[in-house]
């Protein structure tokens, strides 16, 4: 079943002169990890905002078409109720701190307090979440006085703890170092294993290749490519749309160009070892 369905969505911010999204249609299945890629200013964040209901509830503006979450239009549900099914994490770790909690522990508890969860239950869930996100050592620290990478993990954990079915994550690692990026992806991967649906905007294409099931390429407010990760990220056409390909795919494409007959363009390290390694072993046997 499609847990998220975007139907012919066209949207213009109140302050923008042009349409930011033009006739976007997208279906995401339950439990799927869908990555949205594309050049800057393509409308990726706006699409996230639409799925989260911030467009049009928060930003207003002109919207045509509709976004269905679990078959229900976001127009008919309040933002607060949507927050229960769609969790939202965005780019800037610094503004995703509630600003009211004195400790990381309190920060994680904030969402649950707002939902009226019993204090004992909150303590249990926060302790568990601290473990999952490897934040135990920071539990008593102020959320303002930890590093950006740690803040982003706190932000992600604060959303996950509310147990939304869908996680919309907008460029979570753009301000982070490789180590923190990996930690964020580990948590996202864990959520996918728990059956959450994940919609991720990310520029680090190798990570997109490694983790996602479904890739959507947006350019100038329209979806130009939409398909499985293997299919999209091995297609040189992606390069025409201001987006890069995984380094392994570039290698594979280049090898094919030079006459190496690979069965399939690899997109991840594992596939590259299998495809290219396999190719040379076969050659050696011949």
């Amino acid at each position: 079943m499609d847990i998220v369905e975007v139907r012919d969505l066209t949207y213009k911010y109140p302050t923008s002169s042009d349409q930011v999204l033009r006739g976007v249609s997208l279906r995401v299945k339950k439990g799927e990890f869908c990555s949205i890629i594309g050049p800057n200013g393509a409308g990726k964040t706006t699409l996230c905002n639409a799925i989260r209901g911030l467009v049009p509830h928060f930003y207003k503006g002109d919207m045509q078409g509709e976004v269905l979450i679990n078959g229900q239009s976001t127009m008919d549900v309040s933002l607060a109720d949507l927050a229960l099914s769609v969790g939202f994490v965005f780019q800037n770790p610094f503004t995703q701190i509630s600003g009211i909690a004195k400790t990381v522990f309190g920060e994680l508890a904030f969402g649950l307090e707002n939902l009226g969860v019993e204090p004992d239950e909150i303590r249990r869930r926060v302790s568990r979440m601290l473990e999952v996100a490897k934040l135990q050592d920071l539990a008593e620290r102020s959320p303002f006085e930890i590093s950006g990478g740690q803040q982003q993990r706190v932000a992600l954990a604060s959303i996950i703890i509310m147990e939304p079915e869908i996680l919309v994550i907008d460029e979570p690692t753009s301000q982070l170092d490789p180590q923190s990026t990996e930690e964020i992806f580990e948590i996202i991967q864990l959520m996918k294993m728990q059956g959450k649906t994940i919609i991720l905007v990310e520029h680090k294409i190798d990570l997109v290749a490694q983790y996602s099931d479904h890739v959507v390429l947006i350019e100038d407010g329209s979806i130009v490519m939409d398909g499985s990760t293997d299919e999209i990220l091995s297609d040189p056409a992606v390069l025409q749309h201001g987006t890069s390909l995984p380094q392994f795919a570039l290698l594979g494409i280049e090898m094919r160009k030079r006459g190496y007959r690979l069965d399939k363009i690899p997109i991840t390290e594992a596939q590259a070892v299998e495809q290219i390694g396999g190719y040379f072993t076969e050659k050696a046997v011949d």
């Binding site: 965005f90 995703q96 509630s98 600003g99 004195k102 309190g106 019993e118």
Partner: protein, 253 residues
């Protein structure tokens, strides 16, 4: 503070402390008497000390209210006219009445300022606000107050960063008054603007954490009100009532 050995003061419900401080402030207006004021102040220092915060409390007073009081004392002594001249030099004259007025005014201010300072010394602001929310204050108000407290140190840090950035662009930020005034706008404007921009994302963050969800919120560290606190509050209010009524009767007679 060590949680295992809670002092009596810290075991009180924050609203009780608030009522105590409020009663103290109101009582000062009805007993306009510097001896009472000084007794009150001594009591407040003792209360702070019993909570292990005597030194910190006196330090706060010296750094804030005390300076203000000295200024007001001087101004009132010079400005208040009367018949008994104590000291005279050029256009400056101090009258006996002025001194009395100044003493009374400054001790009153000492109690009012000191009481407010005391409240925040012996009460965690979070606890106070949460208990106010418990008594029916809007969670939005709670958020505004608590986030302001958290955000002020953040703004301070941010402004230091902005100052550094502006210095690296050649804006002079140190030197005489004129230089500082000139540096004021280039450093303040980015701070204000970036805070306004941050507000939008902060609002989204709050939405994402179900802040506007239509349910009764819970609170992890809700301070507990006790029977003892309720009795204490009633006693305080009755005492204040007696004082006010007594004062009015004295006026009428």
């Amino acid at each position: 503070m060590n949680k295992s050995e809670k002092s009596y003061v810290s075991s009180l419900y924050p609203i009780t402390k608030l009522v105590f401080v409020a009663c103290l402030i109101v009582s000062v207006f009805f007993l306009y008497n510097y001896i009472y004021d000084l007794v009150c102040f001594a009591a407040m220092v003792a209360i702070a000390a019993s909570d292990g915060k005597g030194k910190a409390y006196i330090k706060t007073i010296l750094k804030t209210i005390f300076i203000l009081i000295v200024l007001i004392f001087l101004m009132q002594s010079f400005l208040h006219s009367g018949t008994h001249v104590l000291w005279h030099w050029g256009i400056l004259t101090i009258h006996k009445e002025g001194i009395w007025y100044a003493i009374n005014l400054s001790t009153t201010l000492l109690v009012i300022g000191g009481a407010i300072a005391l409240l925040f010394k012996i009460t965690e602001v979070e606890d106070l606000i949460h208990s106010l929310e418990n008594s029916g204050m809007s969670p939005r108000a709670t958020y505004v107050i608590l986030s302001t407290l958290q955000i002020i140190p953040q703004m301070k840090m941010k402004s230091a960063v902005i100052m550094d950035a502006q210095r690296s662009r050649g804006v002079e930020t140190e030197g005489n008054l004129m230089v500082r005034i000139k540096a004021f706008f280039p450093s303040l404007a980015p701070l204000v603007l970036s805070s306004i921009v941050g507000t939008e994302e902060r609002a989204i963050t709050l939405e994402a954490r179900a802040f506007t969800a239509n349910v009764k919120k819970t609170c992890l560290d809700m301070p507990q009100d006790s029977k003892h606190d309720k009795v204490l509050r009633i006693v305080l209010l009755v005492l204040l009532g007696i004082l006010i009524v007594g004062r009015i009767i004295l006026w009428i007679l």
